[in-house]
Symmetry: C2
Subunit: 292 residues, 2 copies
DNA sequence: CAGTGGTCTAGACCACTGG
DNA sequence: CAGTGGTCTAGACCACTGC
């Protein structure tokens, strides 16, 4: 229990609500208003969840609550979330506490703050950089000089998950998954060959036609059409030589080493939502990484 | 227009700071004309430099001042910087403002906060992860299972900078640079071949013997012996095939593609301080990257 | 103009560290 | 125990946005 009345000396202290961080119970915070005052209708999702671990600062709890609202779809991608004042009132904390929670969510690219306008749910669609997760850059010229990538959907079919695909997606072997293969070209040169696997349940109805019809990043389509928001990803990178089929699709010979990029993309709660295996040509482009 | 108050300081020799935001009634509004202490020592780049005139928030200015003290070596690596209260007094701002500045510096891995102890200058030596900038992980087992890397210094010589080396290090072509070649082995298997170039002026006295004698990360040696603190780096990654010499040093054949990792490491003020070209074996290891 | 996020301050209390 | 960073609050004002 987080709200605790903990006072012995009540001089002038307000702080009727003293949030003591006790390792006592793990129940979730905020909603109980002390005393008869608020009797707020209570965030439904808020009262329900109680899986959060031991104790955490108030702003971390607020962060979890906001996260739950995001996950539940209470605020859609690119929509504004309530103002800091509103959230402070809703959670019965100060604006500064809400601010710190939002600060962290913004740092994790889940929210975007815009001064004078509000705080918005981040999306893969309205990025100034079209491909937020793509780290491939041309050797010469900037990102825009090549113009947008040309996308070619080779294939989109329903298959059963092999053991490694299942493991990566945290599903059972043999479950239905959608497998997509596509090629990205820059300046008319095939540069990226990607195979990707998506859980069949969540992506029911995804077809090659739908992929071809969509403009913009694939992740934006996943957001709007399938409610699958990729919030972070891990990549394992290796150098490989292509097999015959890969050579044909990329138009390279067998002596052209390629970058193998295996990406696992996660949605909220670190749930894996996509496995992607990419082959990148690095004779005209390079993979950029910033170390901090 | 923004009302600026150049708050010259009377007692402690603190750095003057632009008060871009006027909110305090207590302070007598010194008029625009610089008052009595117009001859303030020009030590503060903020007061002195108008090349970056824009009025940044107070905490950003504090951040710059702390950065300058770090760069000037006022606080050595792994040493504690003054407490937030002390810094607040020194800069004549509130503790909260100092805190926000330190928060950002900690987020950039320049400082490390330790509750109850203080705030410390980050270092490459005392990392729990020995190699902070190395993203190569073994396919099987965790980081520690392999034990520490075996380091073999092949060469360390003084050469003249070629045009591309000079460009990367922001020096003139033909200037002296130190060139080091080494091999890192894991579990007795040569895995990383690295060539690196360092500006000769800063690294005067670096020898192969000294590199061999040193225990721990090379960047730790650079910090303590040459005052060169690498704070961030950029990497360009490609897939390549090794030439004969590289094959011999790594013990691979000509059909083993390798990861080419070209790293530029920067010290304070985004000054490049090292160029490093690495070849990584990725048949037993992989390069890991986190996308956020 | 009102509403939003952004900055700054002041003060209180917490948790942790070490003498 | 004193000193440190960590959290939380309350209130003020600033800068930006859009009606």
């Amino acid at each position: 229990m987080i709200h605790q009345i903990f006072e012995t000396d009540s001089r002038l202290t307000s702080h009727p609500v003293f949030r003591a961080h006790l390792m006592n119970t793990a129940s979730t915070p905020i909603s109980e208003s002390m005393g008869p005052a608020g009797a707020e209708p209570g965030g439904s999702a808020i009262a329900a969840s109680n899986s959060t671990p031991a104790f955490s600062p108030l702003y971390q709890q607020i962060k979890v609550l906001i996260l739950q609202s995001l996950q539940a779809g209470e605020w859609k991608p690119s929509a504004a979330i309530p103002s800091e004042m509103d959230l402070a009132a809703r959670f019965k904390v100060s604006q500064g506490t809400v601010r710190k929670a939002i600060d962290e969510l913004a740092a994790e690219n889940l929210l975007v703050r815009r001064q004078g306008k509000g705080t918005f749910v981040a999306t893969h669609a309205e990025q100034q950089v079209q491909y937020r997760f793509l780290r491939l850059y041309p050797d010469n010229g900037d990102l825009q000089s090549e113009g947008p990538a040309q996308r070619q959907i080779i294939d989109c079919k329903r298959v059963r998950a092999s053991s490694d695909i299942a493991r990566a997606l945290a599903i059972r072997q043999g479950e239905a998954v959608l497998q997509v293969r596509r090629v990205l070209s820059f300046a008319a040169t095939p540069t990226i060959l990607e195979d990707l696997w998506l859980p069949g349940a969540q992506f029911k109805g995804l077809t090659a036609e739908r992929l071809r019809a969509h403009q913009g990043p694939m992740y934006a389509l996943f957001e709007t059409e399938f409610g699958a928001r990729m919030v972070r990803a891990d990549e394992k990178i290796r150098a490989v030589l292509p097999d015959a089929e890969q050579r044909a699709l990329l138009g390279v010979n067998g002596q052209t080493p390629l970058l193998s990029v295996e990406r696992t993309a996660f949605t909220y709660n670190d749930a894996p939502m996509e496995l992607r295996r990419g082959l990148y040509r690095t004779d005209t482009h390079y993979y950029r990484n910033a170390l901090n």
